[in-house]
Amino acid sequence: MSDTVTPARYSWGGDEHIFVELAEEMSLQANFRAMAITTSLCEERPDGILEICPANASYQVRYDPDVLEPTVLLAQLQEIEKKVGDASDFSLSTRVVEIPVLYQDPWTTETLLRFRDRHQDPDATDIEYAARINGLAGPAEFIVEHTGSPWFTSMVGFVAGLPFMFQMVPRDRQLVVPKYLRPRTDTPKQTVGHGGCFGCIYSVRGAGGYQMFGVTPAPIYDPLQASPDFADFMVYMRPGDIVSFRAIDRDEYEDTLKIVEDHDYRIRSRDVDFGLQPFLDDSDGFNARLLEVLRAD
């Protein structure tokens, strides 16, 4: 695998940031390098570091140059890059979580109809369009693909607690859709979206450019920390979380919402270890085992 590793590209982001691109294209391998390097930097954490942000195929460090010399930090990052290599021996103690989704729900449907003038295909809904351009017969077949294999959380951000997720299937089976021609000014809270090769869950209501397929009743951001899932922190999703979507009907959506409103809801979650090489060796088998762990008991 090491012969496929391209050297990282380092760039200054003004006087307080170093931006590091590990690969131009998205891949689980690039994401794993970003996670391995930032994990190592978190452990070393030299004085003057303000933020360490792992991302899909890149990462960024914000620092105080009055405390930490930019060139010293750069050299340290290059050193860690060398040490991490292709990250094939890096493994994660993480979780597999289940996110229930009401696909083709009334709220995202109403919203997407309001912004048809910004869409590639004004005569179709987002999911109809996504199914068509991915060579699938229609929404039902699309949902089978979307729920069929789990997704790897490769970045958290944009707004507070929003996960970017990369489906754990070979590239030729990835669902790929363009972003809206021009971003919407509105997206319902907890919309399940997709742009490029990335799935996402909009943690809060707001602007957005990803295609909208449905909505989850499960909150993933709670600044008031009122429910048990948020006892420790207001953000639920973390880089490395493995997500499985499960299609639900309107009745289950409403029932779940009641539990959420009573602050009794918990996202189904099980601890798992994830290493890149075992996954790459047999991805379908690995995924099947993940879902067994998730759905046992």
Binding site: D15, M155, R171, P178, P223
Partner: protein, 321 residues
């Protein structure tokens, strides 16, 4: 000794010097967009420089004081009035119990800072009192002030009368230069596109808030490029990546956007430059239609500018100590 909000102004928020350490989950630093004006307002009333104050955009609030207080107003030229009588800016003045503080029309700049002796004492969330609106976090219920809000104020120790001399106050202009370090994805621009970015006089649009400032002034050519796998279809798309605070992105090659302290933390549009930290104050004081030139500097120049900026802060701190 609380302050009652009679009228909220256009968009008034509680801000301090911001929160660090949560950008990796999409929570930006927030804090005053014009940090020099915030810290100076605090020093004028005898607060620690990082105390929480009010950031007022274009139009000030109307505040009713229930106890005596010391107040200072810095930043935009937004004239303060106590019971209708004008007070100086960049100078600490006394307000008595029962007084009303409001503001005249803005004459320059965009954001004024109102510091009160003792600081605005809303709860600290993730290490800061700053309001982050997109995440409904910090400040007063995570949102701009509304009429009827009551602002708790800490115990103050400063007196009235201290002021900042004219030469230490930032210039407010409708024509500004903003220094940038080029980089990130500037290689996606064609050489002509890159040159045009630096030669154009850009006009700030009304789309200018704590998240970002959007400019118009023409289209920037990109190189002939097929976006990499996962990025999307537009030549300006990248695989979603972290956005530096102050980074300039150009979706579709039109209308550059400077991300400020409530930045979205990442996304899929090419960033081509980053505003140097001190010049984020200049951006903060830009009102719509401000004519803006982006001036390329090296990292060394940026660090030298940072030292100058810090030195000005120290001069003010010594003066007001």
């Amino acid at each position: 000794m609380p302050i009652e909000v009679r009228k909220p102004g256009l968009s008034t928020t509680v801000q301090d010097t911001g929160r660090n350490g949560y950008y990796d989950v999409g929570i930006p630093p927030s804090g005053a967009l014009d940090q020099f004006s915030l810290t100076t307002a605090n020093l004028l009333v005898g607060n620690a420089p990082d105390a929480a104050a009010l950031e007022c955009v274009y139009m000030g609030p109307e505040l009713h004081f229930t106890e005596d207080a010391v107040v200072a107003v810095t930043g935009a030229e937004l004239p303060p009035r106590v019971n209708g009588e004008e007070r100086p800016r960049w100078e600490a003045f006394a307000v008595s119990a029962g007084d009303t503080l409001d503001f005249g029309f803005v004459k320059g700049g965009a954001r004024a800072y109102v510091a009160v002796g003792g600081g605005v004492d809303v709860p600290v969330v993730l290490g800061s009192r700053s309001t982050y609106g997109l995440g409904a976090l910090g400040g007063v219920e995570g949102r701009p002030l509304v009429a009827g809000d009551v602002l708790p104020v800490g115990a103050g120790s400063g007196g009235a009368g201290r002021s900042v001399p004219e030469e230490l106050r930032p210039a407010l202009s409708k024509e500004v230069e903003v220094r940038v370090v080029m980089g990130l994805y500037d290689h996606v621009l064609s050489p002509e596109g890159r040159e045009r970015f630096l030669k154009t006089t850009w006009t700030l649009t009304p789309v200018a808030d704590r998240v970002g400032f959007r400019y118009k002034g023409g289209e920037l050519q990109t190189v002939d490029r097929t976006p990499p796998f996962g990025a999307g279809q537009d030549p300006s798309n990248i695989v979603d990546a972290p956005y530096p605070i102050g980074s300039i992105q150009v979706p579709g090659g039109v209308e550059p956007i400077i991300l400020h302290r409530d930045a979205v933390s990442g996304g899929g549009y090419m960033m081509i430059a980053t505003v140097i930290s001190g010049d984020l104050d200049v951006v903060a004081q830009s009102a719509p239609n401000t004519q803006t030139r982006f001036v390329e500097v090296s990292l060394d120049d940026a660090l030298a500018a940072r030292r100058d900026y810090k030195a000005r802060g120290r001069r003010v701190a010594e003066l007001l100590a």
